[in-house]
């Protein structure tokens, strides 16, 4: 079974090549690279909206990218039940599109945060099913606006429908706070109601090769193709 995937590149995306390499290595298949201005995406199993600073993060992170010409195709792909993964800036874009609840605002310490963080699975979905309960994953974050915010109603909804894919937690040998950026309820990643769209702040594509500080990022793609 050949797992097909595509990565969308926006002006200012800088983790697109990383996502392409990640998918190529773990699905053993070529990966399509689609420019934000195109209006058609061939049928694929997974689309990744990569990290970076699309449109410079100007106005709001992901705001202008969410209005790109390619977006209707992305929405169509998501609505048909196929997989859509937004990493970091990609998560911000998915929130701006409205495919995911809430919004990402500035880190509570007001500084860019570039370091390894620790997350664990909260609610299960096809992206994290191979991860064990209470298993701690070590994955880098690199963001200015990673602070997840949503209304109380939305938070209840996310919990009731079991849409919280990942939450920040403590890591071994580390005594820094579990919550690294002020996110409500330590939320690091959520899905939509159909659980086929995942947005997450950490970068799994930077944690899958044997020279990376951890290979915990493999589990996401492995879960999808299993």
């Amino acid at each position: 079974m050949s797992f097909k995937s595509a990565v969308i590149t926006f002006p200012g995306s800088n983790c697109d090549r990383d996502a392409i390499t990640y998918l190529r290595d773990l699905t053993n298949n070529d990966v399509l690279n689609i420019w934000h201005d195109e209006t058609f995406i061939p049928s694929v199993d997974l689309i990744i909206l990569p990290g970076g600073f699309s449109f410079g993060d100007y106005l709001r992170s992901g705001a202008m990218a969410s209005k790109s010409n390619i977006i209707p195709e992305v929405i169509k792909h998501a609505n048909s039940g196929k997989f859509l993964l937004g990493i970091c800036n990609g998560f911000q874009i998915l929130s701006e599109i409205g495919l995911l609840k809430g919004a990402l605002i500035q880190n509570n310490k007001l500084k860019f945060l570039g370091k390894d963080c620790f997350v664990k699975k909260k609610h299960e979905n096809k992206f994290n099913k191979l991860i064990k309960k209470d298993q701690v994953l070590q994955i880098p974050v690199a963001h200015n606006e990673g602070n997840f915010y949503c209304s109380n109603d939305d938070l209840n909804y996310l919990n009731d429908e079991e849409l919280i894919a990942f939450e920040y937690c403590m890591g071994s040998f580390s005594n820094s706070d579990a919550n690294i950026n002020g996110s409500i309820n330590n939320i690091a990643g959520i899905t939509n109601e159909g659980k086929n769209v995942l947005g997450m702040m950490p970068h799994p594509e930077r944690a899958y090769q044997n020279f990376h500080t951890s290979m915990d990022g493999k589990s996401i793609i492995e879960s999808l193709i299993s």
């Binding site: 002006p11 800088n14 983790c15 990383d18 500084k111 860019f112 570039g114 690199a142 040998f173």
Partner: protein, 721 residues
Amino acid sequence: MNKELILQHGLTLDEFQIIEDCLKRDLTMEELGIFSAMWNEHCCYKTSKKWLKKLPTKNDIVIQGPGENAGIIDLEDNDGIAFKIESHNHPSYIEPFNGSATGVGGILRDIFTMGARPIATLDSIRFGEIKTDKTKYLLNGVVHGIGHYGNCIGIPNIGGECEFDKTYDYNNLVNAMAIGHVKKNAIFYSKPKTVGGLIVYIGSKTGKDGIHGASMASDVFSEDDEDDKRPSVQVGDPFMEKLLMEGCLELMSSGLIESMQDMGAAGITSSSVEMASKGNVGVLINLDKIPLRQPLTPYEILLSESQERMLAVIEKGNDEKVREILKKWQIDFEVIGEITNTKRVVFESQNKKIVDLPVNIIVDDAPEYDREFYLPKKRNKRKFDLSNLTLEKMISNLLNNLNHLEKSWVYNQYDSTVMGDTVKEPGQATGIVKLHDSQKVIGASTDCNPLYIRINPELGMIYTVAEAYRNLIASNIKPMAITNNLNFASPLDPNIMGEIVLSVNGLKISASQLDTPIVSGNVSLYNQTNDAPINPTPVIGMVGSNSNINKIVSNKFQSEGDIIISIGENIDPHKSPYFLQDQEIVEDINLYNELENINLEDEKITAKILMEISDNNLLQSCNDISRGGIFMTLMKMIQKNYGFNIKASNDFELFCEYKSGYVTTIKENNLKKVFALLDENKINYEEIGRVVIEEIKINSKNIDYFDIKDQYLNNFERIIN
């Protein structure tokens, strides 16, 4: 053209006379502006050229030495590595955020203008004493600015330095280094190939940014000047530069570009003059064609330092194809002139010649000075009273000194893993990235020991180069070449000029012996305010490689029970300058003893054997010994819950500096083989202890592991707030 005007433009009356004599006519204002920019220190190296010419710049692995936008070394298999370091000191003092951000922008352009995709950055930043609000403001601004620019473009920061010393109280330093990967058969130079080729402008519209920035780089500040200089700082747009970088790289791989030059200091002036000079051709440019943000006079256009702009030469007829590619990346593009065979630099506006100068007067006839210099005075031998230094006191002095503390407060504001190929992040001996889709890795480090260089510029420089060398060897990276940033005060003071001459000589000696030629670099002079010069701070950026990522050695403890071995010779505490300074024994610079001599042959042999030991997988970890001695090296090697249990014949030995010093950890059952190799090559070493869990023991004395670790990891943030 009166005396005032000439001096305001940073030229001496003598220099002006040379120009007038050559031209045999009056200069236009615009021409005066051109000389003001091209003949100042930053662009023509008039003070340092004589000495820089003596540096070793060639060997088998050098593809491109100094003289282009970046140096390039050969990694075999069609892989080249381009790299350079550059300063943005004065702008960072005036406006730290934008000053440092645009420094990063400038150095990245120097890399991709050669067809190399940037793959890593390092930053060497220096500030005054932290207790002033001004220093806190500068620290926050500089780190924020570097992060802002580098993170947005998406190039990982893999290392650097951050030093605090009162010598930088009024002159903070920001040196930005960048490394890029280029295919050897696709390197782009600034030399145009065909007469009749079109000169094209690519990138942001031109505004009033930085007018006279290149002259500002050479001006000495007086404290009242700040507000006057404020409008001249350039504001960068990293998003624009990301688009520019992608657009240019795509253009260069399309075969449509003949040559490329970035518009940095002195903007369109320096880039077009450089092109003409390199290609031995002339340039004819119509200033009316230049895309403008706001109305500008020809003078302003010529000197503007607006960011994110490139100059390129393309074959006639290719302009539409080029426009198409750049349109996708939303980049402005304009044909503004052509390459001529006149060997003259001609700028026109409104159909009139505004500037018409022979290229060679601007470049070849630029002044070169042989400034007077003094050698440092001989030092008396001294012994100091170390009786108050207990083990606890010595540890405490280091852990309350920003220079020794873990600096994640700084580098967590940088993205170190974007591009997915980072092997070693900041905070280790070497920053390392892998070449994409390859097993080859590149390692780099930036180093400087200003105190040593102040004591003895030539020998101090040799120590600095040796330390940079060791920082790479510690990770099993073979050192290959150097980029250097010479930061000094005013060369008009013969004492300072002596520091320049002698440290460049020290660089020559060490780079020759260690076979690490200098392939690029930058000079920043006049770093002083009123009468307070900075300590001599020639920063070395050392770059090397290993063809196999699996042979890289860690700089941190790997397992409990590993034996800790120190290598090298310790230096007597009375002769260890940083020990004496950091333990608050000596403050007056005149009281330090002479530096001990070091033997670079020993350095080379130790390095060779360590690499052999590493290649045979006998080394668990390795780190170099420098400021702070063995103790600080051991602290840097702690990760997870590892600690150390060590013995030394006296406590001072753990805090003094070393010659060719390393701390290594080795599995117990490999000791025999390792000792055999070290003995065979007469390398000095000592077994000092073991890696343990959650413990720090020195000469059987228990030091509170959790407290010390917490101080080391968190005191930096505590102190700066």
